[in-house]
Symmetry: C2
Subunit: 442 residues, 2 copies
Amino acid sequence: MHLSRYFLPILKETPKEAEIVSHRLMLRAGMIRQETAGIYAWLPMGLRVLRKIEQIVREEQNRAGAQELLMPTVQPADLWRESGRYDAYGKEMLRITDRHEREMLFGPTNEEMVTDIFRASVKSYRDLPLNLYHIQWKFRDEVRPRFGVMRGREFLMKDAYSFDLDKESARHAYNRMFVAYLRTFARMGLKAIPMRADTGPIGGDMSHEFIILASTGESEVFCDKAILDLPIPGEDTDFTADLSPVITDWTTPYAATDEMHDTAAFEAVPEAERMSARGIEVGHIFYFGTKYSEPMNAKVTGPDGAEVPVHMGSYGVGVSRLLGAIIEAHHDDDGIVWPASVAPFHVGIINLKPGDAATDAACADLEAQLAKAGLDVLVDDVDSRAGAKFATMDLIGLPYQLIVGPRGLKDGVVEVKARASGERATLSPQEAVNRLIGELSS
Amino acid sequence: MHLSRYFLPILKETPKEAEIVSHRLMLRAGMIRQETAGIYAWLPMGLRVLRKIEQIVREEQNRAGAQELLMPTVQPADLWRESGRYDAYGKEMLRITDRHEREMLFGPTNEEMVTDIFRASVKSYRDLPLNLYHIQWKFRDEVRPRFGVMRGREFLMKDAYSFDLDKESARHAYNRMFVAYLRTFARMGLKAIPMRADTGPIGGDMSHEFIILASTGESEVFCDKAILDLPIPGEDTDFTADLSPVITDWTTPYAATDEMHDTAAFEAVPEAERMSARGIEVGHIFYFGTKYSEPMNAKVTGPDGAEVPVHMGSYGVGVSRLLGAIIEAHHDDDGIVWPASVAPFHVGIINLKPGDAATDAACADLEAQLAKAGLDVLVDDVDSRAGAKFATMDLIGLPYQLIVGPRGLKDGVVEVKARASGERATLSPQEAVNRLIGELSS
């Protein structure tokens, strides 16, 4: 992609309405535009990151044995009457009346609908376990939307729903998602800490929030630092095996949100190991047993021939919110510092003299070689001064910059800059390509 | 993917509510489930096809120089007041009031919002031409939703919007989308005929519908058969070049919908070449000049320093509707016959004796080899009789079936069946793999 033709409306001024750094940087870097309170359009560069995050979430859900479907955004109110939540949900639910005066709503979550899909076709324990997920836009009519995509009204969420014959198998389904979440967030360069959580309006008696530490976080969290050094389960994890040892490792060190905080237990942690900080919730998993399957009559025939309501859990990841969370964790004074796994482009080639035949040719050749290796490349071919180019490239935060100018080329060299460390290396074009491919292909 | 673990709720009965074959087959093949009138959940196999169609649309939009962004589903009413369409749009628009009594709507289309995004950041003719598109769920509150995803209320649409300095460049933008559409539909195995069309509530004075012929089509169309044999522009089309010769080729033979039909012109076509048929609209392109840019003040500074409103066009593809249209064009008495480019899986391996060690091992090996070559494979490992397996595989319509049983394996052979032609070949497992990779990899 060439910057001269790319729709990337960089803002020079810092937008006043943005209270936190991720919101500021997303606006300045031309990633999003607010259309009305808490509702954003995703401009091309923002959308690229959103899709990369979504794809990591998808891959880890599939790896853990969940199956993707897609439920609609608009739901009939009647389904929510069956569970009893239509009246209970309150003003956060966006209620809609259609032209025939039928009551509908813009889904804030999908327990009811997925239970309806399940009961229509699954009748036997032989078809269990089952975990269905989708990645879909949801709406919650927050009374005071703020912090950009961190607390928007229309937001993209991955929500998975597990169905099992009994509590024991449901616990295994829960553990699978627990491990999938550890892997998901780690792949995005986040240290997410699972914390025992309140179950709120979803209900149920087993629940963890996955929280990343950031000074702008909305909740206060307390943990034993030991949890920060635990190893992330590998790509070769066998999700059919017993995962409870992993869960035990991750739930033994103290970690709790404000709501669930137990001062005595926290003070039992050696003082040097105690940490209290602000946190951002990026995932939430619940086991809620038969809370929906009973009223909605989602039953299967068990091995003994008796009908029993299925045990369910639900598992959310705030996909669009993750962009904000990642930026909160990865930025500096100059702008965003994307982890390579979610960066909109891997490399930004800075052409210091567009129009100079040798420089243009060198940039085109470097771009072609990197693209051939499967890397996403943005070429700054805009006719502006070097300082502005460097500032833009630092602001948008691509992992590597490849700086190409006529003077360097005369000496047979280009410059590679790593955005995170600021390290620079002067290399021949071929060495630079090899270095970047080595660092970024995986 | 193994059928024993795949959420594929095949219906044995033909659903009574389905009036047309594509709706019946999508329900029977477990691709969709209706949640309420005109609103569907996409079950795993339906979603796979939807994503493949979406990806073809995306690739051809990108090839033609359009840039992807993503606008939200919910829009503020004020934007539509600026264009004057808020009151004009009528009952098809799903109007919403939020908790603060602000008027909003579930977007049926995005001319206003994209114009707002444009005017906020583009100020000079130097940033033109620009074409922005998104692939997003829309809502139109049809008075009588029917025909499954062909006329649903919540539907997935690709809508692109072009911005140009003057009518001449806007015509070039229009031609680019015209060519992109020819390529898009051809890649899905559809013969889509561009027909001069009425511009309806979008407005403007240049418009084509892309129509595929199907006996269940909603509109009557008339054309010169010559148009069916025109060559589709190649992958190497230069979208910066003058595309008007292609447009002339495709608009010279007579082709019109009922609304635009000119009996005299049609009768000038030699009788043997005249064709009248039913058609399904799968795409619609419009040029509408300054209809939105004037009232919404979307202006750029031209080369002479004067501010002028931009010339715009919009370009829609009914992504979810295409599933129905493709099935209408590709099915037989036994079920769906997917073109390989959009098939949910390329190959279905039928294990005739699950549990038999040699057969299971052969299926696993074939699956691994095909997957390694990048093919999507569904293995029927369910313990049921052969007849039921064949019927299911024919119903879901994967391009190739690979039939593996203990008797054949004893003789060192498996069977390959092509779904479309019904042709069968008895081959060694290795020959079968080579044949399938040869037919399907491209």
